[in-house]
Point group: C2
Chain length 341, copies 2
Amino acid sequence: MNNVTDINKLASILNLSVTTVSRVLNGKGKKYRISQSTSQRVIEAAKKYNYTPNRIARSLKTSKTDTIGLIIPDLSNPFFADIALSIEKELRIREYSLILCDSSDDYNVERALINLLSSYKVEGIIIAPVGTKHNHIIDKYKTGLPMVVIDRYFPNIDLPYITSDNYQGGMDAVNYLISMGHKRIACIQGIPQSQPNRERVDGYMEALKQNGIEIDESIIIGHEFSIENGYRQTHILFSIDNPPTAIFALSNLICLGIIKAVKEIGLKIPDDLSLISFDEQPYSEYLWVPITTIRQKKKEMGRLAVDVLFNYIDNKVPNDKIFNIKLKTDIIPRDSVRRIN
Amino acid sequence: MNNVTDINKLASILNLSVTTVSRVLNGKGKKYRISQSTSQRVIEAAKKYNYTPNRIARSLKTSKTDTIGLIIPDLSNPFFADIALSIEKELRIREYSLILCDSSDDYNVERALINLLSSYKVEGIIIAPVGTKHNHIIDKYKTGLPMVVIDRYFPNIDLPYITSDNYQGGMDAVNYLISMGHKRIACIQGIPQSQPNRERVDGYMEALKQNGIEIDESIIIGHEFSIENGYRQTHILFSIDNPPTAIFALSNLICLGIIKAVKEIGLKIPDDLSLISFDEQPYSEYLWVPITTIRQKKKEMGRLAVDVLFNYIDNKVPNDKIFNIKLKTDIIPRDSVRRIN
DNA sequence: TTGTAAGCGTTATCAC
DNA sequence: GTGATAACGCTTACAA
């Protein structure tokens, strides 16, 4: 089983030039009118000696690496894991591979990762940014490296993005709560500076406004998309006078934290508290109480991100034409919201 | 902002040879006794022109790509997502990057991915195999490419692996159930041919045997690590005579399916049915009933996989010395198991 | 129908 | 202290 890893060796074994071997192996046999028999011999030898072209060498020559980079803040969050999976699948179809990077929601890490990926000569980057600063991203994009931002985008900045319609999602959630009779609605948020968070909160406020309900800033709290945050803030909410009758959780992780706290406090959902949460998960239905959620189109987001990215990579679209897409969310009513008086 | 992407250009701007520039940039300045001032100039110019070495070219020369490949069956399964994250983090510390591949639990895809990764010249591969065949893996390993198998390993085969002690985990789960008075214990399994599944079932049977409980093969059912499978099998279990008083679920996804079915059937956990499940998840505690689980050391598994892999990559260890590691599991008692008469 | 040779951007060997 | 130059394995003009 003498594996051959070098086109030169293969060519010399075959008594052919590397050119011919390369052409056959790249499917350019007929283009260069290489004889049937030669082609056969090459293909068989390649199989026999288990030869696969060295992509590194090929890339150096062609400046195509067939790789793209993905930077996400937290792979252990199923929201991002699902998106990553969707992206991987889409890339596979195009015969591209994925270099996966986790920024741990850290701006400095993210910054370094972009440069790292660029040194690996990825042909494009899909990034769910930490969400606060964006200069490092734009700079790289202007360099000519195709990039698409997902989830946490930057408004009014020339960067292609795919995100959910978080504003509408926030409005839908709160309108639903209001339609069920709730007026005192708290909002436990994630990273306040991040755009999805902002828009969800804006949607929340708009819904209240449209329904003539006064906004109480003291029950818009929290600072992180985590279980811990949901847990803490809920305890705070129920230690104040006039606690809410409903909570709008801005992510699945926050929602879990709320459940934890609510049980500790000894309340029942939805009897004592109604709950609605952003992010549908496979387990949302099987939680303590089946949770009413706002579902984002994760798979679609991944698919579109790749689509749009390749529009730039394949130069179907000029770099200064910016794609901006907001995907509709939908609401999945379950048992966690109760109708009150 | 004229970015320079070529060491030649940078060298000519500096009026130095590429050799010198390369040496300085690779931290070999003092080794070659390059003057302080020259080093300074190089470093500053690199920064000024935003120069980063082309890793593709470097790799071709050094045959080091600083990448490793990861193949997992399903990134949307949080068990694998957590492991992937742990691996990514470990690699980052070593300044390596990760090419992530999802095999969709498909043997043919897995086969192709191994060759693909090898053509990308990854320096090693960590793989959670589909779990049935292994020749393609061994063949590649024998080629000299370092590989480590995680989770679904192959017994009595010369391949390094890191997995959980599934046998012990299975025994622990069932012993716990038995200690709570259960005798009629069903087992809903995942992929029957996969080794973790086998060993969990073996542990299950051993525990029964040791306690003088007869094994009823008709209540060891299922074929997939999925919600759907858990759901279906539970319905089947409760359509037969003499249904179980407890179920041992062999994965978190299966557990969710069981919950779904149990609710439909109108049973209560743990009143009418006790449930214990493999795989601890962040949400295990917040499910319909807080679920008693067998926790696997996912983070540790990822960490060790990388550790062991680098023992081969760095040739600290001969390729024919095989590392085999089984990590202890632990049991997290919650409310889903009831003590019966 | 096939082959020769240049060149992709590095690093490493040898030379000065 | 610094520099020419070969080589890594491939693709691709250009030749024949």
